[in-house]
């Protein structure tokens, strides 16, 4: 570090104004108000940037996070995400101190592995009275069905995460262990990736340890767990699904590690093995990295009402045919009461005291502890022994007398279910808040992974900071933000590559790597996006016509509005049974755009499409995610753009939507590997565009009106089909039905013509069936061929003519038949390729009483 040698006595005062709280340990500034040596370089560099620059870099970081789709806490609707918060100032840990923490974390993981093996095996800890039996046996995380399970390799516990805080004495102590399906490692990696883009030179010059070795170790370990050698083992990541609060991390890790992301329904147990359902059949799964809590993993033996699990999974594990990491049953280790007994357990198993201490913990199941807790409640934090979603620690200091009395009653009533912990204020670290550096209470989550006989610790971790100095609870659900964690290298000569490996977003997709659920969602993504586009184009055309220079003839106006209802399927809308809608069409038209809860509207189609993209998010490129973020923003801003009563040029508000949708379809053409995923996305698009075209032409061109009116509707149809300009250039005349039909229906050179869609679709189905290798036509191909034949046998002149009754019967008939055949094709494709989930039921109801 050149600055240090040039300036041997570094500035004692912080350059940026920063005042930590008195009496509390601060990570960057010592009690003597001097900057701690390992912070000099970074704080110096940040001071030179200045607060304004720092803030703009923070904004850039947030933009990158948003574009990467880095969310936390998905609630209900896919447009309602909270972007992961990242502070631009990292938490620095000096290398020497880190080696102590690292050794402590590794030892702790080793210890928890020993506990896990003991509790589901010989139970020496209970037999030798190290642990009271009730501590384990009354804990809901102790799963008797998992007794005796084991996996290959020296360790059973694959991943271990701990939350640490530094107390006022400067000593790191553990406040909680995460042993089920620890989250956060992926967010730590994303934080590093983003920070190295916004502060590239700072991170390069600061000698920061890399995170990648941890993930390499994880990969190595998971691959080694497959029991039957030969060939690449199939490892999958089991996610609860898109509504999981850490779903982003699941997709991120799946891509980074190169594993398939699956949901419970994507897997099935047959003949004692676990299989993934993909388009070309079942593929055996060797290892499952689970992000589903254990009790939800197998309805046969665990929670019978779970819809997140895999029936028979436990039996497949028992038979040694699949390995689940962390093992089922490991939730018992999250019991915070273990913290009290850990020093004794360490002596018992390892014969030495614990290197990394835990926060002082009392278990209410112990009579002496109970007495202490009941008298000291205001100084303590209350935690349940069995953590449930949405449950937070309770701070005795924040309770009034009534609440304290209530808690004392509860703690005495169910003593085994509660612990109390010493409420030590966590240390603070400088955090950027509204343009100022403020001391933020800091919790560090560290990670360890089993690796060849011992544990490898991530050189870094996930740091979370509460937003106000006095707030003691640091939880993402309560608005905490995060920091990158820099472990600084002590030996400057050591080779350190700073750039993290970027996740490979376009993995070489093979059919068998994709669960059919993902493919189905891509198919529907294509369909919904075409549906949204078609509706948007028609609405745009309608607004333009309605607001045109000359007043629209009433018959044209009515027909246009009616076609909006017919094409979008938003009945009752504009129709004979609803005459008042025509009087003031604006309300209804805006509803057809904005009403997310109504079937067929632009908004509901886009929301449906966005939720499909969530299900398939690991298949989509970074650029695609950026377009989707833009689309979400446009969508949420749309109500402001389209205020009723002030509609000067509403069609302009729709332009960005069309641009985003076109960008999406361009991206799928230009940056997706031509695998099953891409093919089904394309098929969805072609099929839906074909269906929409038949609906549109039928609504606009079949009715017989006077010549001028028909010309105007024809112009609308050409405008929706984006061929009005082509038409004028080609025919140099007023629109005329016969030529327009050629262009819209039959012209193979028009990528929006019906013929073009059917040709493309037909080619996809041909390839799917194995190309020239098969001469038999699948049902969906036969049906599509009928549609193609109908189209090709038709003649534009004939279609344009009126029959004896003065109706456009041939055109009407053709379009309705085509619609029917194409709908049938869609159904057949779904039946042929997609798995349809049926809900199992129990022979005997195994849920008793009021267990949860």
């Amino acid at each position: 570090m050149a600055t240090n040698t040039l300036n041997p006595s570094p500035p004692p005062e912080p350059l940026l104004p920063y005042a930590p709280e008195q009496g509390r340990y601060d990570e960057a500034v010592g009690a003597d108000n001097r900057i701690r040596p390992h912070w000099h370089y970074v704080l110096d560099a940040l001071a030179q940037l200045g607060v304004d620059d720092l803030q703009s870099r923070q904004q850039k970081a947030q933009r990158i996070l948003r574009d990467d789709g880095a969310n936390y806490q998905m609630v209900g609707q896919p447009q309602n995400n909270r972007v992961w918060g990242l502070d631009p100032i990292p938490l620095l840990i000096d290398g020497e101190q880190w080696s102590g923490i690292e050794a402590g974390l590794s030892e702790r993981a080793e210890l928890f592995d020993l506990i896990l093996r003991d509790l589901y095996g010989p139970r020496e800890l209970i037999r030798h009275r190290i642990l009271p039996p009730e501590l384990i046996l009354a804990h809901a995380g102790f799963l008797r069905a998992c007794h005796g399970l084991s996996m290959p390799g020296e360790q059973q516990l694959i991943l271990h995460a701990v939350d640490m805080v530094r107390g006022p004495d400067g000593q790191m102590q553990v406040v909680a262990d995460r042993t089920q399906a620890p989250s956060g490692a992926g967010y730590a990696l994303e934080n590093r990736t983003v920070l190295s883009r916004v502060l590239p030179s700072l991170i390069r010059d600061s000698q920061v340890h890399r995170l990648a070795p941890f993930f390499h170790a994880l990969r190595r370990k998971l691959n080694s767990l497959a029991r039957n050698g030969g060939g690449m083992p199939r490892v999958v990541i089991l996610t609860p699904g898109t509504y999981s609060e850490t779903y982003f991390e699941h997709t991120y890790l799946a891509n980074y590690l190169g594993y398939s992301l699956v949901q419970g329904g994507d897997l099935t147990v047959r003949d004692g093995f676990v299989w993934m359902k993909s388009l070309d059949g079942l593929h055996r799964v060797d290892v499952i990295l689970r992000r589903v809590d254990d009790i939800w993993c197998d309805p046969v033996e665990l929670r019978g009402d779970s819809r997140l699990g895999v029936l028979g999974l436990l039996e497949a594990v028992r038979a040694g045919n699949v390995v689940v990491a962390n093992p089922l049953g490991s939730g018992v280790l999250e019991n915070p009461a273990l913290l009290k007994y850990l020093p004794r357990i360490s002596e018992f198993f390892l014969g030495r005291p614990l290197a990394l201490p835990s926060a002082r913990t009392w278990w209410l199941g112990d009579p002496a502890d109970r007495a202490h807790v009941l008298t000291h409640l205001p100084q303590l934090i209350i935690k349940p022994t069995n953590r449930r979603p949405g449950q937070h620690a309770v701070y005795g200091a924040q309770l009034d007398e009534t609440a304290l009395a209530q808690w004392r009653r509860e703690l005495s009533r169910n003593p085994t279910q509660w612990v109390a912990q010493q409420a030590n204020p966590p240390s603070t670290s400088p955090t950027l808040q509204n343009g100022e550096l403020r001391p933020g209470p800091t919790v560090l989550r560290g990670f360890a992974v089993a690796d060849e006989g011992s544990y490898s610790v991530m050189s870094g971790g996930l740091t979370r900071v509460a937003s106000f100095a006095h707030q003691m609870v640091v939880s993402n659900q309560l608005g905490a933000t995060s920091k990158d964690t820099w472990v600084l290298a002590t030996e400057p000569h050591r080779m350190i590559t700073l750039r993290e490996q970027q996740p490979s977003l376009l993995t070489g997709e093979q059919s068998s790597d994709l669960p059919s659920r993902v493919v189905e969602n891509l198919f529907w993504m294509g369909r919904y996006s075409e549906r949204a586009e078609s509706a948007t184009r028609l609405l745009r055309t309608t607004f333009m016509q309605l607001n045109g220079a000359s007043t629209l003839p009433e018959s044209v106006r009515r027909q246009l509005l009616q076609s909006v209802t017919e094409v979008t399927g938003t009945q009752p809308g504009f129709g004979a049974q609803n005459p008042q809608a025509f009087e003031n069409p604006e309300t209804e038209l805006l509803g057809i755009i904005l009403d997310g809860g109504r079937f067929g509207t632009v908004c509901s189609n886009l929301l449906a499409m966005l939720s499909c993209t969530e299900e398939a998010r690991e298949m989509l490129s970074a650029d695609t995610h950026r377009v989707l973020s833009d689309l979400r923003d446009t969508l949420s801003d749309l109500p402001n753009q389209l205020q009723p009563g002030s509609l000067a040029a509403p069609e302009e508000a729709l332009d960005p939507l069309i641009t985003s949708l076109l960008a999406l379809s361009g991206l799928s053409q230009e940056s997706m590997i031509r695998g099953f995923g891409w093919r089904f996305l394309e098929m969805g698009r072609r099929l839906e565009r074909a269906l929409q075209t038949t609906l549109l032409l039928r609504a606009l061109l079949v009715p017989v009106l006077d010549d001028d009116a028909e010309k105007q509707l024809l112009e609308a149809a050409l405008m929706c089909g984006e061929v009005l300009v082509t038409y004028r250039r080609r025919y140099r005349s007023q629109p005329e039905l016969c030529s327009a039909l050629v262009l819209l229906l039959l012209d193979r050179s028009n990528p929006r013509s019906l013929q073009y869609q059917l040709d493309q679709l037909s080619q996809h189905l041909y390839e799917l069936q194995g190309g020239a290798a098969t001469s038999l036509l699948s049902e969906e191909r036969r049906t599509l061929l009928e549609a193609l034949t109908l189209l090709q046998l038709s003649r534009a002149e004939q279609l344009a003519e009126l029959d004896e009754q003065g109706r456009r019967q041939p055109l009407d008939l053709l379009l309705s038949r085509l619609f029917e055949r194409l709908s049938a094709t869609a159904t057949l494709i779904a039946e042929h390729y997609f798995v349809h989930q049926r809900r199992p039921h129990q022979l005997v109801n195994t849920r008793w009483g009021d267990e949860e």
Binding site: R144, G272, W848
Partner: protein
């Protein structure tokens, strides 16, 4: 005495079942007084997976999967068990007193007592309550022996409660059984277990069979026997002792143990998950307990 037990379970479904996953706790375990000589398991139609395992409590169970559509599932298990003849009634004034029992459980000087504390805890179907404690308390004066108190409780349940298969299903809560004073063997076993746990004594649930003898001079009917349930209590330092509140006795020689656990949920004879099968299903169970010429 050697018994042969045949336990036939048949499920018939309204619609074909496409796949099912099952666990059956129907293979008799070994105990201090019985040895299972052999067991034969037949499942119709053919299973795609069938394994025998031992559970957390040391019980045997079999796990099977079917992946062929079927309208009927038949599980046919036959075992031969050698059961020691028991003494009609042991001396109940031996063993530790109620007071001692509490003290020993608390101290838990030996492993057996320490591990028996698991059976003091609430379990999926048995929750201790004040009402149950109040019902049982009169029999548990602190000076008497635990076993004599439990024998009295067994007798009181037998006298106070009516055996009524129409009243309860397996999901009937214990407080309903207590307030209506009706139920079947599972209910009475659960009731006694809950009473004992409420008073601080470890108790476990036992499922098994009882040999029934036909009236003198009559042939025994095929399939007339049934599965049965009773309980055992842990007297610290003395071990586990079985009681049958349905028949007001201490099992000896004619009770054959299949499995034990905290309650019925741990040892459900046949439980599983099916796909499809329609809304209606019928269950037939037939059990034969036969003495074999020894």
């Amino acid at each position: 005495m050697i018994y042969r037990i045949r336990h036939l379970t048949r499920y018939s479904y309204e619609q074909p079942v496409s796949q099912c996953f099952n666990r059956a706790h129907l293979l008799p375990r070994n105990t201090a007084s019985q040895r299972c000589l052999d067991s034969q398991i037949e499942v119709r139609p053919k299973t795609s997976w069938l394994r025998e395992h031992r559970d957390y409590f040391g019980n045997r169970y079999c796990y099977f999967m079917l992946h062929e559509p079927h309208r009927q599932l038949e599980l046919d298990i036959t075992s031969r068990i050698d059961v020691d003849p028991g003494q009609p009634e042991i001396a109940l004034d031996l063993g530790c007193s109620i007071r001692e029992a509490h003290a020993r459980l608390e101290r838990a000087a030996d492993e057996e007592t320490l591990l028996a504390r698991e059976f003091l805890l609430d379990s999926p179907m048995v929750r201790a309550s004040k009402q149950l404690r109040d019902y049982a308390a009169p029999s548990f004066a602190t000076d008497r022996t635990l076993l004599s108190a439990v024998r009295e409780l067994t007798c009181r349940i037998y006298q106070d409660f009516t055996y009524d298969p129409e009243f309860s299903t397996i999901a009937t809560p214990l407080h309903d059984v207590l307030s209506h004073r009706r139920g079947v063997c599972q209910d009475f076993a659960h009731l006694a277990i809950a009473c004992l746990r409420a008073l601080g004594f470890p108790a476990r649930y036992i499922s098994g069979y009882l040999e029934t003898l036909p009236p003198p001079g009559q042939e025994k009917l095929v399939g007339a026997d049934a599965s049965h349930a009773w309980f055992s209590v842990y007297s610290p330092g003395d071990g586990w002792f079985e009681f049958d509140p349905t028949n007001n006795n201490m099992p000896a020689g004619q009770h054959i143990v299949t499995a034990w656990g905290r309650d019925y949920a741990d040892v459900t004879p046949l439980q599983g998950i099916i796909f499809d099968g329609g809304s209606e299903q019928t269950l037939e169970v037939s059990v034969d307990v036969t003495r074999l010429p020894g």
